[in-house]
Symmetry: C2
């Protein structure tokens, strides 16, 4: 609370895929928090988890115990969209600033959508007391795209995002591991539908078999054949970069990777580009690591960047037919920069603001 010591933090959804990574992130970051309170569904209330080296009991988020949200300065919401839609406004009404990682508020014009490397300032104006963190597909590439935009001016993005299983939470990781056990050691993958038959109904949150496969679908059906996830990438990038008319087309595919999203990006700019200057920009941008020497085998892959914080970028090329277009390949850990880390970064900015001398912004 402003001036009165370190702020109280609530982690809502502490037991999930993002929640687990978030607790580890808190343990490794400078300790700016007073009390840290962990919440999850009544199903797992009572479980003990470790954060900052201390055991902490998980409390239930439930109507019977709304007091668990009382006295919270900042609440990180790492729960399914419907749960966030219901509970984030309640937490805000009780006085907490909410940082939400779900899709519930990302499109709300009264809710800033924040990637601290790009628009940290936007987190200071939050009419609903809520700040949203973008989806993991967007976060795979937006830090790198934003850095290049600052120099060259973005005109169009065409992206294919390869999403890992854990993007669908614990259930996603579990389903992939289960499916792999069903197909490994067999000759499956050579006949139409043999993987689908072997996987049977062990598809988990996915619309089909993911082991030994690529699923060109993630999210829910939206208008005109698009998936909600693909349209979200477009809307989120436009909002974060404050380019409401930017042309963006995204294809989201799910790949049999545990954690680590990757994106193949075609970026067209207003001005001519060079690979040399693009390298300089990426190499010096906060949150980005340039790893680009294919002849030496240096390009990022999900299995190599999982468990790390930055967005890794390689395969930077200029289109042979267009001096204003760059291709690049970006990888980021969907549970870290794609969710927990970005949320913690936002929370730390707000904590500094709350305990800072000015502390004058809307909540």
């Amino acid at each position: 609370m402003p001036g009165t010591g370190k702020p109280t933090l609530a982690v809502v959804g502490a037991t999930g895929a993002v929640g687990s990574v978030l607790l580890r992130t808190l343990s490794h970051h400078a300790d700016v928090w007073g009390e840290i309170r962990l919440l999850a569904s009544p199903r797992t209330a009572g479980r003990r988890l470790t954060v900052r080296g201390e055991e902490c009991e998980v409390l239930a988020l439930s109507e019977a115990h709304e007091e668990h949200l009382a006295g919270v300065d900042l609440a990180l919401f790492l729960v399914p969209e419907a749960v966030a839609a219901r509970w984030a406004p309640i937490a805000a009404a009780k006085g907490a600033v909410v940082v939400d990682t779900s899709a519930a508020f990302r499109g709300d014009s009264d809710v800033p959508l924040v990637v601290p490397e790009i628009n940290a300032h936007a987190a200071r104006v939050r009419p609903r007391g809520i700040v949203a963190s973008p989806g993991c597909a967007t976060l795979t590439l937006v830090v790198a795209a934003g850095a290049l935009h600052a120099e060259y001016g973005l005109d169009e993005l065409v992206v294919t995002v390869q999403q890992a299983a854990s993007g669908a939470g614990r259930a996603g990781t579990g389903a992939l591991r289960e499916q792999l056990a069903l197909v490994t050691g067999s000759e499956l993958g050579n006949h139409p539908g043999d993987v689908r038959r072997a996987v049977g109904d062990h598809t988990g949150p996915f619309p089909g078999p993911l082991a030994l496969n690529v699923l060109p679908w993630s999210g829910a059906p939206a208008a005109d054949g698009w998936s909600s996830e693909e349209l979200a990438v477009r809307e989120e990038i436009r909002k974060i970069l404050d380019l409401p008319r930017l042309r963006v087309t995204a294809t989201c595919v799910r790949v049999p990777v545990v954690t680590g999203h990757s994106a193949s990006v075609h970026a067209r700019f207003e001005r001519p580009v060079t690979v040399g200057r693009a390298h300089e920009i990426l190499a010096t941008s906060p949150g980005v690591v340039l790893y680009d020497d294919p002849a030496a085998g240096d390009y990022p892959t999900p299995a190599d960047v999982v468990g790390t914080d930055p967005t890794w970028v390689g395969r930077v090329r200029r289109s042979p037919d267009d001096e204003r277009a760059l291709e690049f390949f970006a990888c980021a850990d969907n549970l870290r920069k794609g969710a927990a880390l970005n949320a913690v970064q936002i929370a730390e900015h707000i904590a500094a603001e709350l305990s800072g001398p000015s502390g004058t912004s809307d909540r």
Copy 2:
């Protein structure tokens, strides 16, 4: 031979990944061939393989036995590039028409590059006696892109091709299966480099671990950060569609799928497009199956289309920001349409020509 009975066919590389599928294809197609002679390296000479229901001994391709190429009317080459570069001209000099699936001759202006659904006519003019079949990355999407081009006029393609392990032959499939055995049943895939360490030097023909990973690289280093495979997609599509100045940017990534390439395609045309008309075009194009109803779970995936002949297309959408751009997702079996089937289709066209009444073209 013209007028004198059915042509003699040589299958060079009969023991490989493409070769095995090709023998099955021959067994299922109308039997237009006289003798079928199987060849491979001296390593596997003597092995017996089945084609058209009959066992057949594999002969060695070697200097000591050039007579194995004598009397051949049509030779299908399904061998590594360097082997094709050396032996295809020898087979041609002995009188065979060569259909080559390697990259050795695809860029040669005296060698037609043929996809029968698009440019079957081109196979009739073959100054070197050689016809090339495109790479499997190109063949993932070119039939569908060509069909749309015929109606709308292509202006630009931006594609990401997800390549399966068997695109790198028997060695590729073997390496993926071996790697999966090393990572399945573990908790690998959550820490930086843990998959790489578990896979160790079992990378096979790949530049890194493929299990639980995506490798943004295939082919050899080419100029300006491109891979040879990516530049080949550009050159091959331009040549097949006879659009020497078409703008094409490709990204080729390797995914942990046994067989079945897929491609995320952004196609921009000279004229405005509609999804309805694009559906009609794709649904009625030879060699294409339209499978596009995401709300019902209908879109092609590698695991579902492996072992089938056509190019499957789904996820057709119009860009929300550009009335001239379509996105689609194409899948094809890289060993069938991507290699063996396309080669057999070319060979059958040439067989008809050789045994036909006119039979007057250059070899």
